[in-house]
Amino acid sequence: MAAGAELLEAAVRTATPLALAALGETVVERAGVINIGLEGVVLAGAFGALVAAGSAGSSGVAVAFLGAALAGAALAAVFALFAVSLRADQIITGTAVNLLAFGLTGALYRGLYGATGAALSIPTTGTTRLPVLAAIPLVGPALFDQPAPTYLLYLLAPLTWWWLTRTHAGLALRAVGERPDAARVAGIHVQRVRWLALLFGGVLGGLAGGTLVLAQTGTFAEGMSAGRGFIAIAIVVLGRWHPLGVLAAAFVFGAASALQYVFQAMGWALPYQLFLALPYVLTLLALAGLAGRRVSAPAALGRG
């Protein structure tokens, strides 16, 4: 019972940044663009949070999250400039953006905070307990006693779903992802739609990085995104490009990752690295398991 609650709490905590980044990437991919640079966007968001938190002082958590969002959007804009405006290859552009983020954050971190890179400590935002809901046995504390970004996620996932499927603008975005030429003929500005989608993805990816720093670790480390952006891209596929499916997939992934804490706590002798690798193996198996079903990838995904 206690282990179950702990597992659930750890799953939600691990899933939150992944789901934020994946939700943004879902919108990007529905517009026909795959942003491999999401890994760099998350890293930039983490660094943006650090810089903004440092300049805003202890009171400015909102400012720090704003810094994270802006940094993420800035990097997404670099991607959009090349992959959308200049029609460069999306995979190569994304790789370049990842290198750029890794190099810039690493160099600036050492430049701004000393060559030794002494661990900086930023006060983390506490959890906010939602009245009534948090009192639900077992799932209550796990789902409703979390930091603010988790609640943002609860709001944004259904909202994004509604926007994509029920609004005119959402329809236009999906048209751009499925049949860009037809969308163009219908008077939709394809490049503008993709730019906006990427900026939205950049803001959410940045917030995912900000969550890592401001709500979880309370510090920044070089390369601290540690593959979360890549995992988010896999989660989009697992969630089959549907905002609510992506949310569910992120929680499944979070639970798979959280298993390692439980097994550690139980004192199992199995090698720790097996549990570290488990989420990636499960993702691959799940992706393979989707075979034969209706493939729901946007038709124009990845093509300039």
């Binding site: 290859d89 593959g227 596929v237 570290l276 691959l284 992706l287 075979a291």
Partner: protein, 366 residues
């Protein structure tokens, strides 16, 4: 025939090195600008970069070319895959599995294999890399999983698998450090130039690049690879090429090259297996391949350029306390510059064709 072939090799080399020279200049200018903007002593830092990369014969051989070796091999892996439209982002994981397999052979097999240890270790590395890439190829063809995603996932699995090996079956005897025991002499690559750290892996990388150049240009398999990459539908219909079989083979060859890179790095440089064996060679390889225009001979030039930049960056950090990671920014800027230049060159040629009344330019863009 033979002179013709030699001439075309020269022109391939020139075609790759002339833009590379321009790119070298751009890289230096970009770095100088970044240093200046950061308020650092650019002259001192650039001096350190020069001394640490190409300023002396020792720096060139022991540092730059040593660093270039895995970049050339993984760069080839990426270039061949991308040429065939196979988005193998997994060179990093294939490199790690290659290193792990070579370590297993080198450590466990030396007593049995004797003088065969080294070749078997290198072969095992290539085989392991090919098998690791083969998982992604299988997932693509049997289950329709995008290789962009599967190869990245496999990178993480490989990293954690190495993490497990160096704390479990392959850990050194004292069980203190997360690394393997040092390789026996039988399993080490000999030095290529006496008095330096440059090992035979560099010659192997050059040989692999030339072989890839020849295979792409002069063999039926190379032809199929190029056709499939350019237009898989036409390859299937008009050329009666089995696209799935071709891309699977390319995937396996690509993985083998990356696995060989790992085996070479292990047997030529680190002599022991540990998690941080690769400072992201498999990812830098994508930039190397792109800078080379996906041409095998160009990969040599681009690999050496990046090897020089990264060696110089380490010297810059030592002597001028400029963060070495800054060179990653330069690499990223270079890739973006190449993308932008390709765009402008593409639109210029499309414009010219359109002015000439042709439609070829438009077809190229579509």
């Amino acid at each position: 025939m033979r002179t013709e072939r030699r001439l075309s090799l020269v022109s391939a080399a020139l075609g790759a090195t002339l833009p590379a020279a321009a790119i070298c200049t751009l890289a230096v200018l970009a770095l100088w600008l970044i240093l200046h903007l950061a308020g650092l002593d650019a002259a001192q830092a650039m001096g350190a970069l020069w001394r640490g990369s190409v300023g002396s014969a020792l720096a060139l051989t022991s540092s730059t070319l040593v660093r270039a070796t895995p970049l050339i091999l993984t760069g080839l892996a990426v270039a061949l895959a991308f040429r065939a439209g196979v988005w193998n982002i997994g060179a990093e994981g294939q490199l790690l599995t290659g290193a792990a397999a070579a370590a297993a052979v080198g450590l466990e097999g030396a007593a049995v294999l004797g003088p065969l240890t080294l070749p078997v270790a290198l072969g095992a590395g290539a085989l392991a890399g090919a098998l690791w890439a083969g998982i992604a190829a299988l997932l693509r063809h049997r289950f329709g999983v995008l290789e962009v995603i599967s190869t990245i996932m496999l990178n993480f699995v490989a990293l954690h698998a190495v993490g497990y090996l160096v704390r479990g079956p392959l850990q050194e005897a004292t069980h203190v450090y997360p690394q393997s025991a040092p390789l026996p002499a039988l399993a080490r690559l000999p030095v290529l130039i006496p008095g330096t750290r440059l090992h035979w892996g560099f010659a192997l990388a050059l040989g692999a690049a030339l072989a890839a150049w020849w295979a792409l240009r002069a063999t039926a398999a190379g032809f199929r690879l190029r056709v499939v990459g350019q237009n898989p539908e036409a390859a299937r219909v008009a050329g009666q090429i089995d696209v799935a079989r071709t891309t699977t083979r390319v995937f396996l060859v690509s993985g083998a090259l990356a696995g060989l890179a790992g085996a070479v790095e292990l047997t030529g440089v680190t002599f022991a297996l540990y998690e941080n064996l690769s400072p992201g060679y498999g990812y830098t390889a994508i930039a190397v391949a792109l800078l080379a225009g996906l041409e095998p001979v160009g990969v040599i030039a681009a690999g050496i350029l990046f090897g020089a930049l990264e060696s110089g960056a380490l010297a810059m950090q030592r002597e001028a306390s400029v963060p070495a990671v800054l060179v990653t920014v330069v690499e990223a800027v270079l890739v973006l510059l190449v993308l932008a230049l390709a765009h402008w060159r593409g639109s210029a040629s499309a414009l010219l064709t359109r002015m000439a009344g042709g439609t070829a330019g438009r077809q190229v863009r579509a």
